[in-house]
Symmetry: C2
Subunit: 422 residues, 2 copies
């Protein structure tokens, strides 16, 4: 049998019992005949505790040193996991990102993987050992400094290693059973998907499903590496994320799922003179402040005034930065005023099948109307429709949409739908 890469998040290895439980799973996989490579995150709250220490000594720590500090977290969890596996009679060797050959650029805190040269991992596998690799970290190509990969870093490490090692599968373990048709905390009848395509998962991740980070899915799609998302607390089959181009389209569900996101805010720039270049000036100012925009809408200019309104959504965390950047250019652009609204939510309907099934948009909007939900903004991609609604109506919108597309399961499982670690 081939190589399996398994990734365990911080909640799976939060304490000694968790580590021992995960160790047993790994040994089971090894005894099934696989070569096993494990990517592990820092234990539970370790990262937060380290960040807290950093804040106590410096309000603005150097990125290089913050990365050096935070990488201690995985060092601890990976060594403990290797010991626990050794205690079960199976040799295991832990490797830092650097030792595992995770080569990155030099952007501390959110480094990008440039190359993976897992020679020492392959050597360990040849010797019959399980290789444990620190997630979330690498070493910069130019300066040989330790880097961290930022959000979704451990998942991305796992997929990148799996691709470099030509593994059969990259298994991502968390406290969630898989990818669901909606958040089961909102829709108790949500079903676990058996399979979902890279594209659909990308849209799900971009639209607020926290189970996998966008970046990790992009990496998997690029290298066509199957991901199996599953729970570390049971042995159930989870959700397979694969390339489904070759699949029989008859089998493909029209709708993959309903995602939602409560982390965005909406800014409206009121009374922008409708001249060439004014909108560009606004978006330049936002880009200069490193604000990431999501949806953008510009109203048709009222002929009488020749003024228009521009609305966009962005992460709430960037709200203050964006408002300040816009305030600085008010005189230059000559707009009237700014409106800020963080009581919004985004509800997205995702499915590769909507390409070939007309009427999806009509059915979606009819469901929202039936539930009394007002649509504030709309954006679409080839396989997704997203709407901005009042935050208080997000649950109603998700539930109504889920039912309208016949996604409800008959046997409701009790599941916990949580975020993953880094």
């Amino acid at each position: 049998m081939g190589i399996v890469v398994q990734k365990y998040g911080g909640s799976s290895v939060a304490n000694a019992d968790g580590i021992k439980r995960v160790a047993q799973r790994i040994v089971d996989a090894k005894r099934d005949g696989h070569d096993v490579v494990v990517v592990v995150s820092a234990m539970g709250d370790t990262t937060d505790e380290l960040i807290d220490l950093a804040e106590q000594v410096s309000p603005l720590p150097a990125g290089r040193e913050l990365d050096m500090l935070l990488t201690a977290g995985e060092r601890i969890s990976m060594a403990l996991l290797a010991m626990a596996i050794g205690n079960l009679g199976q040799e295991a060797r832990s490797f830092t990102g650097s030792q595992a050959g995770v080569i990155t650029d030099g952007t501390h805190g959110k480094a990008k993987i440039i190359d993976v040269t897992p020679g020492r991992i392959e050597k360990a596998l040849e010797l019959g050992a399980v290789a444990i690799v620190a997630g979330f970290q690498g070493v910069s190509q130019d300066t040989k400094d330790i880097t961290t990969l930022g959000r979704g870093g451990s998942d991305t490490t796992a997929v990148a290693l799996a691709a470099a090692l030509k593994a059969d599968v990259c298994e991502i373990y968390s406290d969630v059973d898989g990818v669901f048709t909606a958040d089961p905390r909102i829709v108790p009848s949500a079903r676990k998907r058996e399979r979902i395509s890279y594209e659909e998962m990308l849209e799900m991740a971009a639209c607020g499903a926290k189970i996998l980070h966008l970046r990790c899915v992009e990496y998997a799609r690029r290298y066509d590496m199957p991901i199996h998302v599953r729970s570390s607390f049971n042995k159930l089959t989870g959700t397979w994320i694969t390339d489904q181009k070759d699949n029989d389209t008859m089998e493909q569900a029209i709708i993959a799922g309903v995602a939602h996101d409560r982390s965005e805010a909406k800014i409206t720039v009121v009374g922008v003179p409708d001249r060439v270049g004014e909108a560009a000036r606004i978006f330049e100012a936002l880009a200069d402040s490193a604000v990431n925009l999501d949806m953008v809408v510009q109203n048709v200019s009222a002929a009488s005034t020749n003024l228009t309104d521009i609305s966009f959504t962005l992460p709430r965390d960037d709200g203050q930065t964006a408002m300040s950047a816009l305030a600085r250019i008010q005189d230059e652009v000559g707009y009237d005023s700014l409106l800020y609204d963080d009581q919004i939510g985004k509800v997205s309907l995702i499915g590769a099948g909507m390409r070939s099934h007309p009427g999806v948009t009509a059915r979606f909007f009819a469901a929202l109307a039936g539930a009394g939900v007002n649509i504030e903004m709309i954006s679409t991609s080839e396989i997704r429709i997203s709407v901005i609604v009042d935050e208080a109506q997000v649950d109603d919108a998700v539930t109504a949409t889920h039912t309208a597309f016949d996604l409800d399961s008959e046997d409701v499982e009790a599941v916990v739908y949580g975020g993953t670690g880094r």
Copy 2:
């Protein structure tokens, strides 16, 4: 000015306040014009906490993994210290033992330094940065695995780096003001020594003075690297440990100090047949069990029985191992019985001056007799006399000896005499 290597122990960087205080000291040294390299231990109890975690997942963790785990401790303290220095406007860069070029053999848990190639440290100094180096750790020459240096490891790292960088001095900071003529907790009138030779310090360290580990002093002597032992809590001059061969002997004190040690036990093998090879068999058995002996005494054989008694001292921690090893060879050797006594203490008088001053032994023993202290065993070197006494009489023995050799100070300082970290 030249390079100064400073080493701070775990108690000096036990929390954020300690780290900030140490950072200020380092910046002061840099602003005085020195190139500064800092070796730092893990914060306070970090190492114990990590060992505790390891014990929770495995009763006998692999040495390689234990080293990987423990080295997370210095990684945290060095990154935090670099941040705190950066916050004072001085650039600082932290380096792991491996990055600093500390090359060791592959003996996990107590690796020996083979070579130091501090190219990255020199580069950082050239750029005007302070270099912060993780103590206690290195990388093995053959397998490139992370190693730890064992007891006294951080002090040894500091001296080894200082030697490789041809530093002017290696400053060892702890919570003690320097090397005293005796433990001030026992002898309040003990004086801080301004200078002491490598040889004397070696004997002091071997005889229970916990301020510096034997290994670090040996390294300093070999490379003739001056050590300045001082407190991180004040700016007082501490004690300089240097080569004093060239010093005017008139200035040299006859006695460097009185050391004591309560960590040993005594074993007596009673009724050993006085035949060639029997004693050798006993010491072979102890050596095979990796027991380190200190003092050894063999009584003259009583002619009537042709039986002798062999006594030796050893670390109490090795007591059970030694007794078991001896019990296993009782039939083979044919001795009568074993006696175990851990209610003993060792008191040592150390001074290079005793070479040229006859009568030191007589004065020492007279002082002990005057204090009513009975001598159980004696051992000597060229610059040291050690006696084993009843543990309850150690304080009396130290005080009487200190007074007999006129070591008492007129102005008694209130000091705390503690051990150093690793």
